[in-house]
């Protein structure tokens, strides 16, 4: 066999084990690796589940029950976790100001007075002014909308595309699975920022869509691997085997039995990925290929403020802080959800 | 007495409260003697052993009170560095799962030789030669060639032999074997057990054999201590217990062994589950599962009764026991109704 002999037991904490593919799924940057690793710990072989019974209804009940109790246990755990509460409140606040930025600001982010350029904090303008004389506070508030939009939509696209492709590949296996694995290898081999720089440098549109499109294009293999892995794991559960033995159709097995139990790792990875996409948008905007003015984005503002960093550091620090808090909130949320879903830690 | 554990209490701090894993255990082992400690998982038998070895995870574990007197010294009063020198050299431990208990990335020769390097200050080369000798001693074929191999390259029985060799390396006075054969195939179990018993006789070591397998116990043990919910419920010479247990729990254990002469009958099983160590029932911890429980069992913790009447009941010559009773209570039971149990 030209396969590496499987280790008799998995090394604990292994970020990755040697594999068949040519490429490891690292290389997306530390935060993405973090997401992957956190997700993988949730893909574990079936524990001693409920005993196999002989009616399909029972098998189904077992699958549903397992998933249900996992989520309700997780929810109970989460409500007691201060990290989760803080992160969730921050995210709710961000969503709120993205939808109604006018509720805490009273100016337009595009109304700037050059005469006030680089001025510091003053009454009515708590964060001061940036290099163009725009109010930093207003721009930071409006920047949240862009970041949250890009983050949510990119994650949604990545999660849908990745989990559908990965899930189907994992479920059916065979040639399609091999082809998909090779394709994900190809995407992993391209450095993300570099790909963005090349692809987005041609785009002249100043909407958020090209950036979201790019993130979906380069992000889906990540989720696809996770989804594939967790579907393969879920497939081995006794109740799934039982349902198949009883002649349940493919779609029924996949939807009723596998999806509820395979979705946890995808959600965890997607949550953490959401934070990294927001960070990636800012990085691309900083490099001048992401979003373009007049779109208001933290990345653009940080980039614009960097030449004046000496005289007006506040114009750089406030959007940077907002960016960091946002990314942190999503990573911590993902972390907390993972901890809650991991029965081993309880 | 080589080792004497006196009134040991161990507890674990957990998120949901304090789990009292060991609640006043006392037992002793002489040189050349084999004590079998019997009990279900969670009865505190392994925790007691780990406390003796000094390898409890602290925290969350904590030795609340008690003494562990080994060769006249209370180990609990020693400094960690002195304690370390005792471990491995004067007392050693054999674990249940040899595959996970051996370091996967270090060759067995180095893992064996390490004992000599650390405790005896030998060179690596000499230590390796000793490792080969040890592997020969536990009858691992082609020891010289296999000394460089890694644990996963050996079979389960061979791995457990290596664990035994490691424990024997410095000829300790006491060996604690924690379920040494549980993870092995039945055919290999006997070989490994025989090897252990043989080595024990040869070096005149004290052996504490932790197990839940009564079959193994009957063959090799001199005495038995039965543990339940962190206490010793019955302690006796091995043949006495098999003839007539003086505690309902022991009786339940013995009755649940499948026997050929009772083929076709329903196998006996003790009802219920072991108690939650965070919330041990008042009175006798076994009372919710005991078929003969009375009101007093639910309120009063039974003391350790000395089982004396057993002599007549089991027909063993009274003279021998009289002599023994002067040293220590030869047979004890923590049941208010041990007499009824003994005769029932």
């Amino acid at each position: 066999m030209p396969e590496p002999t499987p280790p008799e037991y998995q090394l604990p904490g292994a970020a990755r084990t040697p594999q068949n593919g040519a490429v490891a799924d690292t290389g997306m940057g530390g935060a993405m690796d973090l997401a992957t690793a956190e997700g993988e710990t949730l893909e574990r072989p079936p524990d001693a589940g409920p005993p196999e019974r002989d009616a399909e209804g029972d098998a189904e009940g077992a699958a549903g029950e397992r998933a249900r109790s996992l989520w309700s246990d997780a929810w109970r755990e989460l409500r007691r976790n201060p990290v989760f509460i803080v992160a969730a409140l921050v995210i709710l606040f961000l969503v709120f100001i993205s939808l109604w930025p006018g509720s805490i600001t009273w100016m337009s982010p595009l109304k700037c007075e050059l005469s006030k350029a680089q001025e510091g904090s003053q009454p009515g303008h708590p964060f001061g002014f940036d290099g163009q004389g725009c109010d930093v506070y207003t721009r930071v508030v409006y920047g949240a909308r862009t970041s949250v939009t890009v983050g949510f939509l990119a994650t949604l696209g990545v999660a849908l595309l990745g989990s559908v492709l990965g899930g189907l590949a994992g479920f059916f296996g065979g040639a399609g699975d091999s082809v998909l694995s090779r394709i994900t290898d190809i995407f992993f081999a391209i450095p993300v920022v570099l790909g963005g720089l090349v692809l987005l440098s041609v785009v002249t549109s100043n909407t958020v869509w090209p950036v979201i499109g790019f993130m979906v294009l380069l992000g889906w293999p990540q989720i696809s691997r996770i989804a594939r892995g967790s579907v393969i794991t879920a497939k081995q559960h006794d109740y799934v085997q039982a349902a198949r033995a009883l002649g349940a159709s493919h779609s029924r097995v996949l939807l009723r039995h596998i999806t509820p139990n395979a979705v946890a790792p995808v959600i965890v990875v997607a949550t953490i990925a959401l934070g990294t996409y927001i960070s990636l948008e800012a990085t691309l905007s900083y490099l001048g290929v992401g979003l373009k003015p007049p779109t208001v984005s933290w990345g653009i503002d940080i980039s614009a403020a960097s030449p004046y960093i000496r005289n007006a550091p506040h114009a750089l620090l406030w959007p940077s802080g907002a960016l960091a808090v946002t990314v942190l909130a999503f990573i911590m949320l993902g972390d907390a959800v993972r901890d809650a879903l991991d029965p081993k830690l309880r | 007495m080589l080792l004497e554990v006196r009134d040991l209490h161990v507890e674990f701090r957990t998120r949901d409260g304090i789990a009292r894993a060991v609640n006043g255990v006392s037992y002793g082992v002489d040189a050349g003697e084999t004590l079998a400690v019997l009990g279900e998982s969670g009865s505190g038998k392994s925790v007691t052993a780990q406390a003796i070895m000094g390898i409890l995870d602290m925290p969350p574990g904590r030795i609340a009170s008690g003494e562990i007197v080994f060769r006249g010294t209370d180990l609990l009063k020693l400094k960690e560095e002195d304690r370390r020198k005792v471990r491995g050299a004067e007392m050693a431990m054999i674990f249940q799962d040899a595959l996970s208990s051996l370091n996967p990335v270090i060759s067995v020769g180095d893992q064996l030789g390490e004992m000599f390097v650390v405790h005896r200050g030998m060179s690596r080369k000499d230590a390796r030669a000793r490792a080969v000798e040890l592997m020969d001693r536990v009858r691992i074929p082609a020891a010289r060639e296999r000394v460089r191999d890694y644990p996963h390259q050996f079979s389960g029985g061979m791995r457990q032999r290596i664990m035994i060799a490691m424990a024997m390396a410095l000829e300790p006075a006491l060996i604690i074997a924690d379920e040494p054969t549980t993870a092995l195939d039945v055919t290999v179990q006997a070989q490994v057990m025989d090897l252990l018993a043989e080595l024990q006789r040869e070096y005149h070591m004290g052996l504490i054999l932790i197990t839940h397998d009564l079959g193994v116990v009957a063959d090799v043990a001199d005495r038995i201590a039965v543990m339940y919910a962190g206490r010793i419920v019955e302690s006796a010479p091995v043949h006495d217990i098999y003839k007539a247990p003086a505690h309902p729990y022991t009786r339940g254990l013995l009755d649940s062994i499948p026997r050929l002469d009772q083929k076709g009958q329903e196998l006996y099983a003790i009802k219920g589950l072991p108690p939650n160590l965070m919330n041990i029932p008042p009175g006798c911890a076994f009372n919710p599962r005991c078929p003969a429980a009375q009101d007093v069992c639910r309120t009063d913790v039974p003391p350790l009764y000395e089982v004396t009447g057993a002599v007549a009941a089991t027909g063993i010559a009274a003279a021998g026991i009289a002599g023994a009773a002067e040293r220590r209570a030869d047979r004890t039971s923590a049941c208010h109704f041990w007499r009824e149990c003994l005769h029932g």
């Binding site: 604990p12 040519a22 690292t26 940077s320 960091a324 | 431990m93």
Partner: protein, 307 residues
């Protein structure tokens, strides 16, 4: 082992072709490669057509790609916007980025592993919680923000370093940029090491080592570390490729004339040859690093055997 390497090398071919093709297509979509060749002036149509023919740009894209691939194997990476062969640019840029990557990797190894071991051994104590929080913050702050802030503080405010790196880019100058480049991976290495140490600390073989009466130092260095560092070493190995590709941001901030800088220039000037050439080499580095890591894995863990 030999067969495994061959099989892996064969597997790398489609990935290599796919990745370069992807980049090639992206760059072709990117714009008119000829436009950049006439410098900053607008090319007149006749010259443009002439150039197009000369570079084979009038042919279909797939044919261009094959020609390009063929040229690469003869060591011809084409010409950059300023008329220099791309290989010459590479010769000047790669050593700089390699130095930067080495500095970053050293930071990951030294700081990441030390912090990870310290926190893993003291799980739940204040030092652990503190470092854990710090790693989350470092992961959350995008590299370019970290870079700009360090540049502001160390370079401008306190004057400890020069805010931008000279063209020689010596190791000394690259310390701070290397730290910035490493920062996110560094935090990840810390977390990975911590998890690995904490898990292995509870393992049976560590308990055996303690029961053998080994001194604590020996238990940690000989038994615990060797096992715990296997995943960490493999992560750092695969990170090499990622760091070199991700250096573009750091190089921009500190004005380092490495791979990222050349790539950025290539993209600005819409020079296909430069961009595809550099990306091709980066992809190769990434693939080879991955292969080496898997082979290293087998060396570190005797349980893994490749047939």
């Amino acid at each position: 082992m030999g067969r495994y390497v061959v099989r892996r090398l064969l597997q790398m071919i489609p990935v290599f072709i796919g990745a370069t093709l992807l980049i090639f297509l992206m760059v072709n979509v990117m714009g008119d490669p000829v436009a950049g060749l006439c410098g900053d002036r607008q090319c007149d149509p006749a010259t443009a057509a002439q150039l197009r023919k000369e570079f084979g740009l009038d042919k279909p894209v797939w044919q261009q790609y094959l020609t390009y691939l063929g040229n690469i194997f003869t060591g011809d990476f084409g010409t950059a916007f300023n008329g220099q062969p791309v290989t010459e640019l590479m010769a000047s840029a790669f050593p700089v980025t390699v130095r930067l990557t080495i500095v970053a990797i050293l930071f990951e190894i030294v700081i990441g592993i030390v912090l990870g071991v310290v926190t893993g051994l003291r799980r739940g104590r204040p030092v652990d919680t503190g470092v854990l929080l710090l790693t989350l913050v470092v992961i959350s702050v995008p590299t370019f923000v970290t870079g700009l802030l360090l540049q502001l503080l160390l370079g401008v405010e306190w004057g400890w370093i020069k805010p931008s790196v000279s063209t020689e880019a010596t190791f000394g100058e690259l310390i701070v940029p290397g730290l910035v480049l490493a920062s996110v991976s560094l935090a990840y290495v810390t977390r990975l090491t911590r998890t690995s140490i904490a898990e292995n600390k509870r393992s049976d073989y560590v308990r055996t080592a303690v029961a053998k009466g080994l001194p604590r130092r020996r238990v940690v260095t000989r038994h615990l570390l060797r096992n715990s560092l296997i995943p960490v070493v493999t992560f750092i190995g695969t990170d090499i490729g990622a760091l070199m590709g991700g250096a573009i941001v750091t190089e921009r901030i500190f004005n380092i004339h490495g791979v990222g800088y050349q790539l950025y220039q290539g993209i600005l000037r819409q020079n296909t040859q430069t961009v595809v050439g550099f990306v091709t080499v980066l992809v190769l580095v990434f693939l080879v690093a991955n292969l080496l890591v898997d082979l290293l894995y087998a060396v570190l863990d005797p349980r893994i055997r490749y047939a």
